[in-house]
Symmetry: C2
Amino acid sequence: MAAGAGLKEDIQESERLQHVMGADLERVSQRVFEVTELSYPVASSIIHEIVLAGGKRLRPLLVLLAGRAYDYSERFDELITAAAGVELLHIASLVHDDTIDRAALRRGKPTLNSVMSTGATILVGDFLFAQSAMLAARTGDVRVVSVFASTLGQLCDGQLLELFDAHKTDQQIETYIRRIYGKTASLFAGAAEMGAVLGRAPESDIQQLRQFASEIGLAFQIQDDIFDLTRDSEGLGKPAGNDLRQGTVTLPTLLFAQRTASGSADARLLDHVVSGDDVADDVVDELIDRIRSSGAIDDARAEAQQYQTLARERLAVVPHADTRDLLGSWADQALASA
Amino acid sequence: MAAGAGLKEDIQESERLQHVMGADLERVSQRVFEVTELSYPVASSIIHEIVLAGGKRLRPLLVLLAGRAYDYSERFDELITAAAGVELLHIASLVHDDTIDRAALRRGKPTLNSVMSTGATILVGDFLFAQSAMLAARTGDVRVVSVFASTLGQLCDGQLLELFDAHKTDQQIETYIRRIYGKTASLFAGAAEMGAVLGRAPESDIQQLRQFASEIGLAFQIQDDIFDLTRDSEGLGKPAGNDLRQGTVTLPTLLFAQRTASGSADARLLDHVVSGDDVADDVVDELIDRIRSSGAIDDARAEAQQYQTLARERLAVVPHADTRDLLGSWADQALASA
């Protein structure tokens, strides 16, 4: 009964977020749509399909909310522009990710790399980076541009670390955190900082909002990494253990490795599965069972919960009560989608 | 005798350019070196080799000279930073170009893509774009950042057009010009604009310097395209007709196509060579002979000369006589290297 009421409340909250911010988010999508009118065959329609499919638009929403907590109406146009820049930066990085991973679908639509050459896809991704940088510059705020550029650097850093750290089971937890910070949390943190800067928040509030977004981003990615080991292989989408198959060692797997005696059967099984060689499905499933029953998943979940708790406490600084609640709903929505 | 004296003068001029600007250019290279200290195996040393090999450094030199014509000493640090950003943007685009072309060498050194996976090379290129954008932001000038971002967009546009226009012999001259503007002249124009903006030049001078750089860039690329048809295949480096083999239709070839009756033997030979199919060397050589003897190369050369003349006239606005001469030497050096 209590759980049911909580769920209903969550739904109402998320509906309220959509109700209050929906029209502004539409403006953001419109801005993204305009700057992705490309004069090359094929490219434009595919990018537009990805933009229209929408995704969760968590990042532009965060830009707007961080600004709304302070000076919203006066900086409205700059905030819409920055939010569009952040969303486009996200899309550009997805275009390059999909090229690297040779993915066929994105948001249920064919990827660019599935219909164009690798060369053309690299260049279209670069072009979208350029357009997103132009949006950042169009805010007229040097700090926004700086945050934008350093966020792009951190994104690449996270993805490069994922490539170079693949197949290694002796990683430090800190290395894993740096990696997921770059890959996921950095763009959340950058979005919050841009919004708060444009809203003319006091510096200490900017830092708190940045941290809030970063910690929700870390919790989001840890949850996503857990989900890769707990989801039902029978369902739609990727099978369970996709990260393991690719040699990507995530938090639950690292925690499992730490409690495994070197040279033991478990350690050998783990090394074999993440080696990058072709491994039979039942061997991957066996490893997933061992990780599940080791308690490593509960420990990873506790870690995500800790980041989430830290993050939510930071919202106390937000002076505007209504926006503070919406930022809480934003966090719920982000974490529900991981 | 007169020609010999002219040549000697040119050498002295280029030595003077090196003498006056060499130390400042070294600072630029140092700045580029610092921001390319990457914490990933292999990547850092390869990028550093490319940076140290130096190339002609025409673009950072142009940033510095455009600033030097106005307010140099007061804006020195910003100019060095912008020049480093421009050089790094150039290097980042070379990393992606080499990946697309699967090139093995750059400035005589192994390319990143020859020793790393395509995925890692794409990400390192993106990382370098991010670092170059951070340098642009570090100038603290919103217009510099804007020029930077739009230049990146134009670069991608030029390269995408080259991909999509490949194998087509019925292109308009205007399309060719837009393509080489994006591919080559845009970064020259952007470099001049950034330097002049940072040097606090009057707006009309900024526009003249931008045009000067753009026209030298166009002349440079037309010369380079001519050279692909006139160079000796016996020499080092790429064989003559490399563009034709790749299906890239350049100005001399377009001018040749325009004077060729549709359905004639020449027209069929041209279509065959640029079709993208494997074509025997002697067939390519035959086409090169036909283009050479058609007068198309002289006409293309005249076009390059026209851009060059236009460009040099614009230098009259530069108030500082010494820098005006150095900008003239810069143009000589740029055109001598094409």
